[in-house]
Amino acid sequence: MNDPVVAKRPAGSGDPGAVRGVAAAPTASEAPIPPTPAAPETTKAPHVRPGDRIFRGLATGSGVFIVVLIGAIGLFLILQAIPSLGLDQINFLTSREWNTTDPANLRFGILDLLLVTVIVSILALLIAMPIALGIALFLTQYAPRNLARPFAYVVDLLAAVPSIVFGLWGLFVLGPVLFPFSEWLIENLGWIPLFAKGNVNVQLGGTIFTAGIVVAVMILPIITAVSREVFDRTPRMHIEGAIALGATKWEVVRTTVLPFGKAGYVSASMLGLGRALGETIAVMIILSTTSASFGWSLFDGGATFASKIALAAPEFNDTRSAGAYIAAGLVLFVLTFVVNAIARSIVAGHKEYE
């Protein structure tokens, strides 16, 4: 039944030009091979090609998957944390004590963990942000093209260095190197709480100060890489507009590159902050643990959420103790969410200029 239809087609489409009819002749002789193309003509529904359908399914599936995954992680944390939170003898949010050795008498509060985590991360961010900005501007605006590429690779390579190596470096190299400087700060600026003598031995270098610097180095590549991408996309015509007005190199950067890349730079920094908050192994190795509570000094020791949880792995055989750490993990999870939300709102505020 289909064959006559297919056979007619070349004649029909050949009408606009006689030449086409001639060209179509060989197709007509192959008519038995493609009977299927006639099938869609009978279906009235809008035609969706299989490739489109498959790809849409895959893309939607991936999107749904990630949302479900995050929801599942959140749910897991909440479900595991609730029983232990119920057994907690002290206030979970405002207490500084952490004692889970006796599952029958759980006493755990996250205030110190929260403060140390935030201070380490903010210190890291404060150090990494300006340096990353400088590197990104250098790579995109100042470095000669043939130098920029290898230099960018080197910075990216920093991201490939394993955490544990940074931890060892921080503990054995950076800590001792920082000691004279730390000592000087404590002696001369000790009246500022941030630089007061801390609750661990400064000479060993296991301080928030050291950890913050190491984490700064660790988040440098991500901030640099994202900022570089954004700065590189500054429209050529805006740059030329500034140059034509008699702007110097720095003025070009100030009037075009920075305003254009500001939102990207902020979100890059927030990505870095997200990494800093969750950094585990390097911080765990560097920070000296202490039973004293956090006293707002950079030369304190202590533990971040992540390092505390990692250090406590041996305790996890009791679900009640483990639940306490999972509760801490839940707070970290929420904290990174909040940071990301703030970052997004900052970026959204700058959108109108893009």
Binding site: G246, A247, T256, Y353
Partner: protein, 258 residues
């Protein structure tokens, strides 16, 4: 203000590629000079060499002289940044700074030059916007971003920005090619007015436009692919369009090109 330009034996290169060969040309003050010619003939390149924008491209090189009232802007003692402050430029696509308000866009050049006095800046902004025939359209929204204007308004904003620093010469690189006919007309009228105060050089693909706005016309051509562009002839616009001295010019103008 309104100085003359003398281009002497100008050769322009992009790396090893010889883009423009042996151009010599005089641009009188308070006068509109149009550069016409087929794409790739180097007219924009020549224009960009007049405020030292050419050398911004990697590997770009300039040989020859460009004299601004007798002083070579390519002399070793001259700072290119200073040259660009005295020779303004308007680009093919309107490029106001998107993060700046309309007012800040206009006075951007002055701010770069170190003017801080708010009153003075406001006065210049108004004068320049009036000069660019844009004041009445934007006077109530000077604090809004410049990117919110229409294409034609943006281009006039860019002209206001260029004339705010009262340049000696104003260069325009196909300023109307991205605009509709009405905006084009507005810019052409503006060019005719600006001519009273400024020396203007305009690159255009639109020959009617060259005929309408310019006093003298320079025709550039390309002898072949990979060959440098050349200045074929330069003369009064009227003469170029009615009785050109060269066959190539006549062919191009009458559309018998290529």
């Amino acid at each position: 203000m309104a100085k003359r330009l003398d281009i002497k034996d100008l050769n322009l290169y992009y790396g090893k590629f010889h883009a423009v060969e042996n151009v010599s040309l005089a641009v009188p003050p308070k006068n509109v000079t149009a550069f016409i010619g087929p794409s790739g003939c180097g007219k924009s390149t020549v224009l960009r060499s007049l405020n030292r924008m050419h050398e911004v491209a990697p590997g770009a090189r300039v040989e020859g002289k460009v004299l601004l009232d007798g002083e070579d802007i390519y002399a070793s003692t001259v700072d290119p940044v200073e040259v660009r402050r005295t020779i303004g430029m308007v680009f093919q696509r309107p490029n106001p700074f998107p993060t700046m308000s309309i007012r800040d866009n206009v006075v951007a050049g002055l701010k770069l030059a170190g003017v801080k006095n708010k009153k003075e800046l406001d006065e210049v902004a108004e004068r320049s916007l009036r000069g660019a025939n844009l004041w009445n359209e934007v006077k109530d929204r000077l604090d809004r971003p410049g990117g919110g204007l229409s294409g034609g308004q943006q281009q006039r904003l860019c002209i206001a920005r260029a004339i705010a620093v009262q340049p000696d010469v104003l260069l325009m690189d196909e300023p109307c090619s991205a605009l509709d006919p009405i905006s084009t007309l507005a810019i052409e009228d503006l060019i005719t007015e600006l001519k009273k105060d400024y020396t203007i050089v305009i690159v255009t693909h639109n020959m009617q436009q060259a005929a309408r706005v310019s006093d003298q016309t320079a025709f550039f051509n390309l002898l072949g692919v990979g060959q440098p562009g050349q200045l074929i002839e330069v003369d009064d616009t009227e003469k170029i369009f009615s009785n050109p001295g060269q066959k190539a010019t006549e062919d191009y103008i009458s559309g018998r090109f290529g």
